[in-house]
């Protein structure tokens, strides 16, 4: 979380809204542990990471959707989730993310 603060400060100073995605659970092998954090500004700038890179694109899309809906959601990526097969982790694990607007 700490590593994304400077970017969040910059975005907020410019009046841009921010979404945060955090790894809240990993099953099997996962590239990043719980707590890994990515911040996304409303114009699609990204700070931090939640995987080795394999699901980052999909997470940005979720973050922008969450800024639109203003409602937190839990997203799951990995082989155990049929809907997410297209963005499955190369390591074969499953990662659960909480994606939410930074409105708290």
């Amino acid at each position: 979380m700490k590593e994304v603060i400077a970017d969040i400060d910059r975005w907020q100073a410019a009046g841009r809204r921010v979404a945060i995605a955090r790894v809240i659970g990993v099953e099997g092998s996962g590239p990043r542990d719980p707590g890994a954090t990515m911040a996304v500004s409303e114009d699609g700038e990204v700070a931090g990471s939640v995987s080795g890179g394999c699901v980052e694109g999909a997470v940005v899309a979720e973050a922008l959707a969450v800024l639109e809906s203003r409602t937190p959601r839990v997203c799951t990526f990995g082989y155990s989730d049929d809907e997410a097969l297209a963005v499955g982790l190369t390591c074969g694990g499953t990662v659960h993310l909480l994606v939410e607007p930074l409105d708290w």
């Binding site: 979380m1 719980p34 708290w104």
Partner: protein
């Protein structure tokens, strides 16, 4: 725009102060309507809380669990009933601990110390070297140490000991009972999670006697003192020994030291074999 909770969290993180963020990540059944996905508590080590998970009892129980997680430096997900009841699972709370680095305190500014400082830094410890002899306890000899202190071990422990907890490790490398004994006795008075002391089996036996004579409790010594220090991986050089010591620190923290991996103190033969 972000609000009070993020402001508290941000201030603690930037100030390198410990803080816990508890977030609701799952809600069902009776908890719905009361608690919402994303509800949060920011918890400081003194128990001060900001925000709410949606129920005062749930807040109280989650705060208790958050402080326990902070003590151990672990991230956990806990499941509760709508009012924090145990053995229920209507609410899941992700407890995220932000703690300053765990501490590694090395007593004795000897040959092995430099390598232990280096491996300790790789593992993310905030490393202190303490030796009462100012000629040896210099920043020049241990450039990677966060702190080099020329002070008697017991004096240093009186000052710093109350801050230590289960994540912190103390290694006594002096092999000199006049320094070892006060360092070990001082550390036994703390909550440090790891205490190890270097020395041959003979040094170990002599030191054990001195510790008992100085009033150490034999049961407590058997439980806490890892001596001779390190996992039995056949280490010889200072660098290899540093790895053996750090591996044991990890094993003790992860609860593997008894049985799953073998520590030198569980064996009886020569420390350096073959």
């Amino acid at each position: 725009m972000s609000g009070e909770l993020y402001r508290e969290l941000r201030a603690a993180l930037l100030g390198d102060e410990p803080v816990v963020l508890a977030t609701v990540t799952y809600v069902e059944g009776a908890a719905e309507g009361r608690t919402a996905l994303g509800a949060k508590l920011v918890i400081r080590p003194d128990g001060r809380c900001f925000g709410t998970l949606g129920d005062p009892e749930l807040d109280r129980i989650a705060t208790r669990d958050a402080l326990a997680a902070l003590d151990r430096g672990l991230f956990v997900t806990r499941h509760y009933g709508p009012h924090g009841e145990a053995r229920r699972a209507e609410v899941a709370v992700f407890i995220e601990v932000f703690a300053p680095p765990a501490r590694l305190i090395v007593f004795g500014a000897v040959d092995f110390t430099r390598a232990l400082v280096e491996v300790g830094k790789v593992l993310g410890f905030a490393v202190t070297v303490c030796d009462p002899r100012p000629v040896f306890a210099t920043k020049t000899r241990f450039p990677l140490a966060d702190e080099v202190v020329a002070e008697w071990p017991d004096r240093y422990m009186d000052r710093v000991g109350p801050e230590l907890g289960p994540r912190d490790a103390v290694c006594v490398l002096t092999h000199d009972t006049k320094f070892d004994v006060p360092a070990i006795l001082g550390t036994l008075r703390t909550r440090a999670g790891y205490l190890g002391a270097m020395g041959s089996r003979r040094t170990h036996e002599r030191r054990w006697q001195r510790l008992l004579e100085a009033g150490a409790d034999e049961v407590e010594l058997s439980e806490r003192l890892m001596s001779p220090i390190g996992l039995d991986i056949g280490a010889r050089t200072p660098e290899e020994t540093a790895v053996a010591i750090c591996a044991e620190i990890i094993a003790v923290r992860t609860g593997r030291a008894a049985g799953v991996v073998t520590s030198l103190r569980s064996g009886a033969g020569a420390i350096h074999r073959g």
